[in-house]
């Protein structure tokens, strides 16, 4: 049944894979998309935290770097990050793209040349600004704290549609998939279009090895029943993210020394402020504001107005028994601000001897300073708004997973060329966050969409 040779096999049905699938299918190509995660819809997203963590992320919820101080959240689900993220869409600025151009020597890396692709990407999703009247207590503290300290902040733009805040919707629930299909995840935007144009989607299939046999690419892997299967294609698109793509190439023994290098995560750190009065950070659109401060940008960090569900918050809190419980009882009194840094010190993704991932990612002195600057800005915000107690979270998290297959002109310092194919093999492409040459310091979703659009045209050209 599966002896068919597809024009393109895409590994990963996240944002990049879904966008590419849509473009390539609409161009009339036969496309198969393989995804390790399950294909949920709004009727069956796992809603309990225990099930959501287990079923929507690799490793049963969290993976760790070697020093176990960054918890890596790597989505494993059809729709990828767009199912579990907060759907914040921002363009990259000159700072980010100039840095990329400098590293990659690729000319089209500029705000002006990227603009058409951003525009085209934004046509696929509905974007709204969180309406002022629905901001919750956490956003109020964020805004007041920013004002008191002379920082600049701005309302967030989010890929959403018809969230029904007036009927009491709490977006924190949508971190495990939106039951209203309001969040503009891939399953409600580009994936249906791809499927209508003939995309074959196989979920719960974990790609393990790729090889080239008599001019064709073979993707080996294991299906949900534990059976080994092989799919064949003329072209292959790697869209499994920084870690997934690196792992697959390393397992397949690709030669380029840069594979897995240059790994960035925008390390994030949540800090909780306990207040006398109830804040109800969990209510409504729980993330409504972001820092918009040029000084922060120069100093390479940003602050976000966030929160987490009970297990996540519980994990951030120190102590056990009555100390732990005394915090949990005040969960509705907590405000929360997160610092995300534009990390400079690259990490590496490699395979340990037992075949498991080994992720080395540390903050060097510079990153640590950036981080401390961000944290002290958070403390300033809390202290200027009457906080009773500040609890800094227990560990950092990494959920913008970038790099590992850096894009660039020079094959000695990069993995993917400016046409999005591997220096090593012109039939294998990648356009997702794995090709980022460094950390932009801005939420990557929109740029992943734009790059997918651009890469699609490049791939089409190579086939047609």
């Amino acid at each position: 049944m599966h002896h068919k040779i597809f024009d393109v096999v895409i590994v990963g049905a996240g944002i990049s894979g879904s966008f590419l699938a849509k473009e390539l299918c609409q161009a009339g190509l036969s496309v198969l998309c393989l995804e390790a995660g399950k294909n949920f819809n709004r009727h069956n997203y796992p809603k309990k935290e225990i099930d959501a963590n287990s079923q929507l992320y690799w490793g049963g919820g969290i993976e760790l770097n070697t020093t176990a101080d960054i918890g890596i959240l790597r989505p494993k689900v059809v729709g990828g990050g767009s199912v579990v993220n907060q759907a914040l869409l921002d363009r990259f600025d000159d700072i980010a793209l100039d840095s990329w151009k400098n590293k990659s020597k690729i000319d089209w890396m500029s705000t002006t040349q990227m603009e058409p692709w951003y525009k085209s990407a934004l046509e696929e999703v509905k974007v709204e600004e969180i309406p002022t009247e629905f901001r919750n207590g956490n956003a109020d503290i964020f805004i007041k704290g920013f004002e008191a300290n002379g920082f600049k902040c701005a309302p967030l733009k989010r890929a959403q549609n018809n969230c029904a805040y007036e009927k009491g919707s709490d977006c924190i629930e949508c971190l495990s998939g939106c039951i209203r299909d309001s969040k503009q995840s891939m399953g409600v935007t580009v994936l249906p279009k791809a499927l209508n144009s003939g995309l074959e989607l196989v979920s719960e299939f974990e790609a393990e090895k790729i090889e080239k046999v008599s001019g064709h690419i073979r993707v080996h892997g294991t299906d949900k029943f534990g059976d080994k299967r092989i799919f064949r294609s003329k072209k292959l698109v790697l869209a499994a993210g920084a870690i997934g793509n690196s792992k697959l190439l390393l397992q397949s023994q690709f030669k380029n020394n840069n594979i897995g290098k240059g790994f960035y995560t925008h390390p994030q750190f949540m800090s909780l402020g306990l207040y006398e009065h109830e804040i109800h950070s969990e209510k409504g659109p729980f993330q409504a504001m972001k820092s918009d401060d040029p000084d922060f940008r120069v100093r390479s960090f940003k602050l976000e107005n966030v929160f987490g569900p009970p297990v996540a918050v519980g994990m951030l809190l120190p102590g056990i028994a009555s100390k732990h419980l005394s915090y949990m009882k005040r969960i509705t009194h907590m405000a929360c601000v997160e610092v995300a840094i534009r990390d400079q010190n690259p990490g590496t993704i490699s395979l340990a001897r037992n075949g498991r991932l080994k992720i080395v990612k540390t903050l060097d002195e510079r990153d640590q300073t950036t981080f401390n600057n961000g944290l002290s800005a958070i403390h300033d915000i809390f202290n200027s708004t009457g906080v009773k107690e500040i609890v800094d979270g227990n560990f950092k998290i990494g959920l913008h997973l970038m790099g590992g297959l850096a894009i660039g002109k020079d094959s000695n310092s990069s993995v993917v060329n400016e046409n999005f194919s591997l220096h090593e093999d012109p039939d294998i492409f990648a356009a997702d966050s794995s090709i980022f040459p460094d950390a932009p310091g801005i939420n990557p979703s929109l740029t992943i969409m734009a790059l997918a659009k651009k890469a699609a045209s490049s791939i089409k050209e190579s086939i047609l």
């Binding site: 709004r42 009727h43 069956n44 809603k47 309990k48 935290e49 225990i50 099930d51 963590n53 287990s54 079923q55 490793g59 049963g60 919820g61 969290i62 760790l64 070697t66 020093t67 176990a68 101080d69 918890g71 029904a164 009927k167 009491g168 919707s169 709490d170 977006c171 924190i172 629930e173 949508c174 939106c178 039951i179 209203r180 299909d181 949900k224 029943f225 534990g226 969990e282 209510k283 569900p309 009970p310 297990v311 519980g314 994990m315 120190p318 102590g319 056990i320 028994a321 009555s322 732990h324 419980l325 949990m328 009882k329 969960i331 509705t332 037992n354 498991r356 227990n394 560990f395």
Partner: protein, 649 residues
């Protein structure tokens, strides 16, 4: 309690760890008291294997460690930041692993019968939700882990079977002993919550409390214990003999699940008829789709118990609905249908199943005879007949519906029976102090009434129960005499509290009368003469016979159950029953040699002669023939190999 990975020890370790992190305080229950440890596979299933193994090892250690030491380890892991990475990193992993395990189980709003999950959420005042989309009635149902459906559309029944196909793979990958862990957990839950379950059974059926406890709860626990004790042996690969002509080869039987079993159950023992077949199906390695009767759905009970016993989503799916729903499920081609109910519905199901050649097992009705010989202990026989006819208000497929008494003791038996029948206490009681409850369905009351009217109009005499108004669901015991073969009550299944008394002359007469029926489910024989009892038991065409007792073959889970004639097809329960839910796969194992077998091509004249000689030797009997077999056999073997390799010369 139930985990594929955590045994008793690790669960103890997990609970000890849990109580160190969450000892309980005020309205917050301690971790161990929530019972959420039973849900740990919801995490473990998705972890990397070595992480899971690490946690398993830690939990084993914790099981033996004093709690203060566990506390010390957790507190040390909290202080990871002060250590260099060499120690700090493993400490952080331990902290994340241990706290992650406990806090995830504790704060995930896990659904449980005591609603503790929800109480914890209320305790921290966490209340979030998303407004449903227009047209969505509720999104509460889908939070349940065990899947249940109400009157599914035909599109949804396709989904039911798609999910079942995936579940088949999961279940078949479990060993029998792994499956039994879930059975043990389920058994414990049923035992712990028997009073609550009896309440629910009473609510749906109107039966007496003792009836529910004795026939449903006890019967189930007995059956589950049988599964625990016998399944591993019954389902393990079996090596059978291989005849000498196939020397050097090995023959085996594998007992594997069939796939998806559709169970359609009746309303008379709604809990028993849910749990018993679905656990047999599960242990045998199948995914199950269970449709309860629309009259006694026990809504929510079975899925709640299965869920809390750790059964995963879709292992057993419960589909509520009527006959139309049942038909649409059959359309999806289950691998077997297990039906318990009426003859009429059984025939329809078999007809429908035949379209797609789906195997059926039918447990249908009966018109069971009870035969009392003159040498029997009459008091005991009266008490037995009374119970056999009236238990569950006569709504049992193996109810006694024909009482044959030898003529010499008939009057004595009748007098005692009438006297006893009048002492039956009838009430839907709260404390077990009642013999029988009410009828369950209106339609069955009507059938009893029509049988009664028909009998009376044809000359039957009603000895008790004259005060029944003909419509009340509380039908009292109805003892009859003067029954003749023209009456419905003599031929058709009444399924109510009736006791028609007949007299017979001798053994041959009794056997003849007992066999004069379209049914053949069970029978009982009462006599002091053991050899007569056995003789009569052999002569009655039926599936089950109790001697000097009544309806007792069902009381032994080691005995298969099922009927002949219109009472059904197939056997379930016991080892035979367990295997009837299996694909019995025959395996013949030969070595990977270069040898060409005698029965393969080419066939030649020479081979014919040798084969003929070998056949004569093998089956001729006697030592000389055996020697002939050996000589011809060896020649045949070497010739076949040679001609097979070189080809016809």
């Amino acid at each position: 309690m139930t985990s594929k990975y955590f045994g008793h020890l690790q669960t103890r370790g997990l609970n000890k760890l849990g109580d160190v992190i969450i000892p309980g305080e005020g309205i917050f229950p301690s971790f161990s008291s929530t019972g959420f440890a039973s849900q740990v596979d919801r995490m473990l299933d998705y972890m990397y294997e070595d992480d899971r193994e690490g946690l398993t090892l830690l939990m084993t250690l914790f099981a033996f460690m004093p709690s203060f030491f566990i506390r010390w380890i957790v507190l040390l892991s909290e202080k990871n930041a002060i250590f260099p990475d060499l120690i700090g990193a493993p400490l952080r992993m331990i902290q994340l692993g241990l706290k992650g395990l406990i806090l995830t189980l504790y704060y995930s709003n896990i659904e449980d019968s005591q609603k503790l999950g929800r109480k914890i959420m209320e305790g921290i005042k966490w209340q979030t939700g998303v407004a449903p989309l227009e047209g969505d009635v509720t999104n509460v149902e889908r939070s349940k882990c065990t899947t249940s459906w109400k009157n599914p559309s035909s599109e949804e029944t396709v989904t039911v079977f798609e999910r079942s196909k995936a579940a088949e793979r999961e279940i078949s990958s479990l060993t029998v002993s792994q499956r039994l862990k879930y059975i043990t957990a389920l058994k414990k839950l049923i035992l712990d919550e028997k009073e609550k379950i009896v309440d629910l059974i009473q609510k749906d059926t109107g039966k007496g409390r003792s009836d529910a406890l004795f026939s449903e709860i006890f019967g189930i626990l007995d059956h589950l214990t049988f599964l625990e004790k016998e399944s591993i042996k019954a389902l393990k690969d079996e090596t059978v003999k291989t005849p000498i002509a196939l020397m050097g080869k090995k023959s085996q039987l594998f007992y594997e699940g069939l796939g998806t079993i559709l169970i359609i159950s009746p309303w008379n023992y709604p809990f028993y008829q849910a749990i018993v077949p679905l656990t047999v199906s599960f242990v045998a390695g199948n995914a199950t789709i269970y449709k309860p009767s629309e009259f006694t759905p026990l809504e929510g009970l079975v899925e709640d118990l299965l869920f809390r016993a750790g059964f995963k989503e879709d292992w057993v799916q419960i589909v509520y609905g009527d006959g139309k729903t049942g038909a649409s499920l059959i359309d999806q081609r289950p691998d077997k249908i297990f039906f318990t109910g009426s003859v009429a519905t059984g025939k329809k199901i078999m007809a429908k199943a035949s379209e797609q050649l789906i195997p059926v097992e039918l447990e249908l009705g009966g018109k069971d005879p009870l035969i009392v010989f003159e040498d029997a202990n009459i008091d005991r026989a009266v008490a037995g007949a009374l119970w056999g006819s009236l238990t569950n208000t006569g709504q049992s497929c193996t109810s006694v519906e024909r009482v044959y008494v030898q003529e010499s003791v008939f009057e004595k038996f009748k007098a005692k029976m009438v006297e006893k029948a009048k002492t039956i206490k009838q009430e839907i009681d709260k404390d077990g102090d009642s013999d029988i409850g009410s009828m369950t369905t209106e339609s069955q009351v009507k059938i009893v009434k029509s049988h009664l009217d028909d009998a009376l109009s044809k000359g039957a005499v009603l000895l008790t129960g004259n005060d029944w108004n003909g419509s009340d669901k509380m039908i009292p015991p109805l003892v009859f005499e003067n029954i003749n073969s023209q009456m419905k009550i003599c031929k058709e299944e009444t399924f109510g509290p009736i006791l028609p008394l007949y007299s017979f002359i001798d053994e041959q007469d009794a056997i003849h009368m007992a066999n004069d029926s379209e049914f053949g489910l069970s029978a009982s024989v009462w006599t002091a003469d053991k050899s007569r009892a056995i003789r009569v038991s052999r002569k009655i065409k039926t599936g089950n016979v109790s001697i000097n007792n009544v309806m007792l073959t069902e009381g032994n889970p080691y005995l298969p159950f099922g009927g002949v004639k219109n009472s059904g097809i197939g056997r379930y329960k016991g080892v035979h029953g367990l295997r009837s839910f299996c694909n019995m796969k025959s395996i013949l194992i030969d070595g990977n040699s270069g040898k060409i077998e005698a029965n393969w091509f080419p066939y030649t004249k020479r081979k014919y002669e040798l084969f003929s000689g070998m056949t004569e030797g093998l089956f001729g009997g006697g030592i000389l023939n055996f020697i002939k077999f050996l000589i011809y056999g060896l020649k045949l073997e070497s010739y076949s190999d040679k001609v097979g390799k070189k080809g016809r010369v």
